[in-house]
């Protein structure tokens, strides 16, 4: 079963690398990682999608916590979350099926962001399974390229917050 973990970490040189090194060194799975700055420029949020049994999840969370650059680790699989992914999907079209492809994409609320005389590129956002479904539906028409951001997720309502002590700037 896939699990989503949200990690707040120091937004600095090498911090992301420590997480990926940990996952490869310990043999943990990574399905996707996305990382970006938060409202605090010195803190980054990483959303990790991993899988494993409860025992492995327990170790993943503990080992992540053990890193000195991680500030907060939350298993989002245990709470109510909003989960999104963005994808760019480029599809080839022939004379006569462009409207069909566009209407299919629009069923997934896909937006046309680029078009040439042979290809059409959609932007799609939504939960990862929606992106999977769109990709599957478009596959028969001839997908040229897909770029997916990986999952980002936040807890619904209440935020995953740092303690006041943690959010103090380190002045670095």
């Amino acid at each position: 079963m896939k699990r989503t973990i949200s990690v707040l970490l120091e937004n600095r040189y090498g911090a992301f690398n420590r997480v990926s090194t940990l996952f490869s060194g310990k043999g943990f799975n990574i399905h996707s990682i996305s990382i970006g700055e938060t409202e605090m420029p010195d803190i980054a949020r990483m959303t990790l999608v991993t899988s494993g049994d409860d025992k492995m999840m327990d170790q993943i969370l503990k080992q992540l916590n053990r890193l000195i650059d991680t500030l907060k680790v939350v298993d989002l699989s245990r709470v109510n979350t909003v989960t999104r992914e963005l994808a760019l999907i480029s599809v080839s079209y022939k004379k006569g099926n462009r409207a069909e492809i566009t209407s299919l994409a629009s069923m997934f609320k896909g937006k046309v962001v680029d078009i040439t005389n042979r290809t059409i590129t959609f932007e799609l956002t939504g939960p990862p399974d929606k992106i999977d479904a769109a990709v599957n539906m478009l596959l028969p028409y001839g997908i040229i390229e897909v770029a997916r951001t990986g999952t980002v997720a936040l807890r619904r309502g209440e935020q995953v917050k740092l303690t006041p002590q943690q959010s103090e700037s380190k002045g670095e």
Binding site: L9, E10, Y13, G14, N17, R18, T21, L22, G25, K55, D58, Q59, K62, Q63, N65, R66, L67, I68, D69, T70, L71, L162, Q165, Q166, S167, E168, K170, E172
Partner: protein, 570 residues
């Protein structure tokens, strides 16, 4: 009064930070990227720099120093090969939770990533083998980074920290200010155990019929010897120790069952297998301890005290975790157990196992064996020495036959099993504790892996006893070949390729003594102990084909030991 802060260059800041951290010894080797530091070292008088012959030696010395003293060991090396040569030592320190700080030189910032001369991405290389590491990118961050490095290395679960110092950072100047405190928002080790968990643990121990304390290196890291003594003695609890736990509780005490695990005592392993409450104190359920995990203390209620939350449930699922400093937790546990459990029956069972299968080695045939040498060493030193063992058969025999009575008197490479550890680590231990004898014990294989450091010991006239248990075999590997690999002694016989160790001793400025007879052992020990103006290399030529017993085959249950070699005539 002026509040103006002094302006210093990176090298001056480096030494001022070391001075404030109370560093007295530094193990190092100069090179291009750290020339500025060595330029200033020339005039530094508060610390002693020990010039090694290989950077791996420097790290093992720092480890030996840290283990013997409880202080942070410090290493200084140059960039590139200087840095990469530290990798084995750093990994060793990481596996065995030894607090060291390794300073590596780095090429100037503008050359990083350009494949410059003597450039290596040592921060990248050591990321999975350090507790944390830093690349200092601005001289203004240098002081606070060094402060953090020492704090991280020594606090919580200790470990190695590496600080990479680009040449231009060391050469630039800034105002010096040393922070009083370290504030790391992502790092807050938990030192106080959960009260209700401790109460529950005390209750379980009180009600236990067959309790057992399983003690690891954490008790030594936390200096919790007195607390362990009280907890064990007030309740008459049997104590078994891991390789790194040895010395935390006197092995001569009637409550000690010795070491457990693959080459542990039969009675310790039986006690683990049959106990009803297992209290793990600063130990991590290593595979050499547990054997087959499913049968390890199968029916016991398991309590796990550890400062590292990630150690809980990592290898063995436990019933009651207590995260905290084991010293504090043991004190609270002892206070909480109001009435000691009734254990007469348990003790008579344990003593039965002891009688059933005591430690045994062949003797009386006039041939020299490690076990006998160790017994004589113990008798002559009364345990008042630091014994630094290497890796292999002799290392296991040390745990069986040298009864450690003092904390920090047993130093070895456990987790990584680094051959070549003993010679340099013994040198480090001597600098930490010049007041007591240091015995380095190696096999003939491991001795040769870092024997270049003999000259380091000789130059400083250190009276270290470098003992070689020479069976001209890579003995432990040979043992596995005999037992599990069809007696194919593939590349383990060194009899045609060993050097003359007495000539080695002489060439490196050490005294040399060699014997192959049990009759000489006492004399040899007296002679070596009497040499106090230089190191001595002592070669004991031992029986070639001996094996270490008892033994749990890899992956086997620890209750299921091979206790001695099958005699074809029996």
């Amino acid at each position: 009064m002026s509040n103006k802060k002094p302006v210093m260059n990176g090298a001056e800041i480096f030494f001022e930070c070391l001075r404030r951290e109370g560093v007295e010894h530094i193990f190092g080797y100069p090179g291009g990227a750290v020339l500025k530091i060595y330029e200033h070292l020339y005039d530094v008088d508060f610390l002693k720099h020990i010039l090694v012959r290989h950077e791996q030696g420097a790290v093992h010395m720092a480890e030996g120093y840290a283990k013997a003293s409880g202080k942070v060991g410090v290493v200084l090396v140059t960039s590139g090969p200087g840095a990469t040569n530290t990798v084995t030592g750093i990994t060793d320190a990481y596996m065995d939770s030894i607090p060291i700080v390794v300073f590596t030189g780095q090429v100037p910032s503008h050359l990083i990533g350009k494949d410059a001369f003597q450039e290596a991405d040592i921060v990248g290389i050591t990321r999975p083998i350090t507790k944390h590491n830093f690349l200092v990118r601005d001289v203004r961050d240098l002081a606070s980074t060094i402060k953090k490095a020492f704090y991280i290395a020594a606090s919580g679960k200790p470990g190695p920290v590496l600080v990479d110092l680009p040449k231009d950072v060391i050469n630039s100047k800034c105002e010096f200010e040393y922070p009083d405190n370290v504030e790391l928002r992502g790092y807050k080790p938990v030192t106080v155990g959960n009260q209700s968990q401790i109460k529950k643990a005390a209750e379980m121990i009180k009600q236990a019929k067959r309790p057992l304390l399983y003690v690891g290196g954490g008790v030594i890291c936390s200096n919790g010897f007195a607390e362990l003594g009280i907890l064990a003695r007030e309740n008459k609890l049997p104590v078994t120790m891991t390789l790194h736990g040895l010395g935390s509780f006197p092995m001569t005490d009637e409550l000690s069952l010795g070491m457990l695990g693959m080459h542990g005592t039969y009675w310790a392993n039986q006690a683990v297998t049959n106990c009803d409450v297992l209290v793990s104190l600063g130990a991590r359920f290593d595979d050499r301890v547990t054997g087959k995990v499913d049968t390890f203390a199968k029916d016991a209620y398991k309590i796990h005290v550890d400062i590292d939350p990630a150690a809980i449930d990592k290898n063995v699922y436990v019933d009651l975790p207590i995260v905290g400093d084991v010293k504090n937790v043991m004190a609270e546990l002892a206070a909480e157990i109001s009435a000691p459990p009734e254990l007469d029956e348990w003790w008579s069972t344990i003593n039965g196992w002891k009688e059933e299968c005591p430690l045994y080695y062949e003797s009386g045939d006039g041939r020299l064996r490690t076990e006998y040498v160790l017994e004589r060493l113990l008798d002559k030193t009364k345990g008042n020495a630091i014994v630094v063992s290497d890796v292999g058969q002799h290392q296991m025999w040390v745990t069986q036959y040298y009864q450690f009575v003092h904390p920090r008197s047993h130093i070895t490479s456990g987790g990584l099993g680094t051959m070549g550890f003993s010679v340099p680590a013994a040198i480090g231990a001597h600098f930490a504790r010049p007041d007591i004898p240091v015995l380095s014990i190696s096999g003939d294989g491991g001795f040769q892996m870092n024997m270049q450091e003999l000259i380091t010991a000789a130059y400083h006239k250190l009276p270290i006893k470098f003992i070689i248990m020479n069976n001209s075999f890579l003995g432990m590997v040979r043992q596995w070949q005999e037992l599990f690999h069809a007696e194919k002694y593939s590349f383990t016989d060194l009899s045609d390729s060993n050097p003359d160790f007495m000539k080695v001793a002489d060439a490196f400025g050490c005294a040399g003594i060699t014997t192959n007879s049990p009759k000489d052992v006492d004399d040899v020990i007296d002679q070596m102990m009497a040499i106090n103006d230089r190191p001595v290399v002592v070669e004991f030529k031992i029986v070639r084909e001996d094996m270490v017993f008892p033994m749990v085959p890899a992956g086997g249950s620890i209750g299921d030991m091979i206790v001695r070699r099958l005699d074809p005539n029996e």
